[in-house]
Amino acid sequence: MKLNRRTFLGTAAAASMSAPAVYAGGHGKPRVVVVGGGAGGATAARYIAKDSKGAIDVTLIEPTRTYYTCFFSNLYLGGFKDVEDIGHSYGNLAAAGVNVVHDWAVGVDRDAKTVSLAGGASVAYDKLILSPGIDFVDGAVQGWDLSSQNAMPHAYKAGSQTELLKAQLAAMPSGGTFALVAPPNPYRCPPGPYERISMVAHYLKNNNPTAKIIVADPKPKFSKMALFQEGWANHYDGMIDWIGSEFGGSNVSVNPDAMTVTIDGEETKVDVCNVIPAMKAGRIADMAGVTDGRWAPVNAADMSTKADPDVYVLGDASQQGDMPKSGFSANSQAKVCANAVRGALTGSKVFPAKFSNTCWSLISTNDGVKVGATYEATDEKIAKVDGFISKTGESADVRQATYEESEGWYSGITADMFG
């Protein structure tokens, strides 16, 4: 169901009559509400609280007590990480002055400037920052919907789904088949499906070496393609069958009951099927009425939405221009947004927007690659300034150093997000 703003406002009004509690500041301080405690939202909440030194009331609304990062979740699948390694609590944010509310945001009333919560309360804001990540497009993969996600996990929101996929991988029969249905552009973490294929192959090579991986891809090419294909040939020769759009990879359907995948008319019985459907902004962005199509268009200078100058959208859910949808991008955008929001509410100095992104991927043990770019704000979009990518044929030493650097980055970005 798609709610338009008018129908939503009706719902919110009804909700607020039955549950009129409001977490308003009460101190006359400006109020920022952040929805979503991932790379964008946690960073924005932390920076605004830290830099405003108590001058702004910051509330973070996030349903989960432990946040599992999507980045590095593939390394858990490959056996390089435990699930605990990618889980983070919000205790440090709370200690740093962020009012952490574990609840679902279920509506936004942009006229009253309140966010309603599933628990019945409503939270008033002066500035609202939405960082809800992604949801999946209904009907994107024929035969698959959310009720199929236990038979055919997406594992593209990390946590229980990732653990489920790992358990299914471990339970594959000898010589079995692992299928992955890749998403169309744009989607969260462009190299993610291909790092996942690498990590699944790594696991299988060590535990089930006669198993096969088939990939149905609606795209003719993908992020770091030459690097991944070189790595697959080097480490997993003959194990991975990637079927791009030119070979029918976009013509795919699945049957979760029969555990079959049909690619361009050819049906295959599989043992595990990882379906990563087409994506859209997390639903609260749609409910707030700030999306246009699947994503929320934003102004590059401060990440405010085109629809409402007091509502900002960060990270995967935003439509901003050239930056990939990644945790690094969301973290970078959050800091630009935090500076602008603090300036608007307290008069602090607002500096020009600068953004950056780097994505590391692990292909096999000590075989890491990376791609990155810097960006600036133009009137039209976030525009790429400069970039780099790892080269094919790099030495083992360089690849190992790149992997070790990615470990450092993980520690760095999660400290920057969660304190």
Partner: protein, 121 residues
């Protein structure tokens, strides 16, 4: 975690840039020859601007100085920081991420970052 492990090494790093955590061919470095002008070194950085710009650093480098694979940049003296950033900016020192990040910073911005990071414990 090895906190501040790089600090004692810094004078060595300064000369030869051997930070093994950076994923590049150190042989290609040419930092022995690299010099930064007095004019650049004398720029007084704005720490408030540096704090904002540091957001581009802290997505990777840990502000508390911890080292897990990416070197600490906290607590360096300003001149060393400026020298290191300019060695990346001028591509005398290898590392694609750092060359890119430093490459778009002005002399004033590098001075601002140095001023900010020098204030951190």
């Amino acid at each position: 975690m090895m906190k501040h492990i790089l600090m004692p090494l810094f004078s060595v790093c300064f000369l030869s840039a051997p930070l093994g955590a950076f994923g590049d061919d150190q042989d290609a470095d040419d930092t022995d020859e690299f010099d930064v002008s007095e004019e650049i070194l004398s720029i007084k950085g704005d720490p408030e601007y540096g704090e904002y710009l540091s957001g581009d650093c802290t997505g990777c480098h840990q502000v508390d100085g911890s080292y897990d694979g990416i070197p600490s940049i906290t607590g360096w003296d300003e001149e060393s920081f400026v020298w290191a950033m300019h060695s990346y900016k001028e591509k005398a020192r290898e590392h694609p991420v750092m060359q890119m990040m430093a490459g778009r910073l002005s002399n004033d911005e590098i001075a601002a970052l140095a001023a900010y990071f020098a204030t951190l414990e």
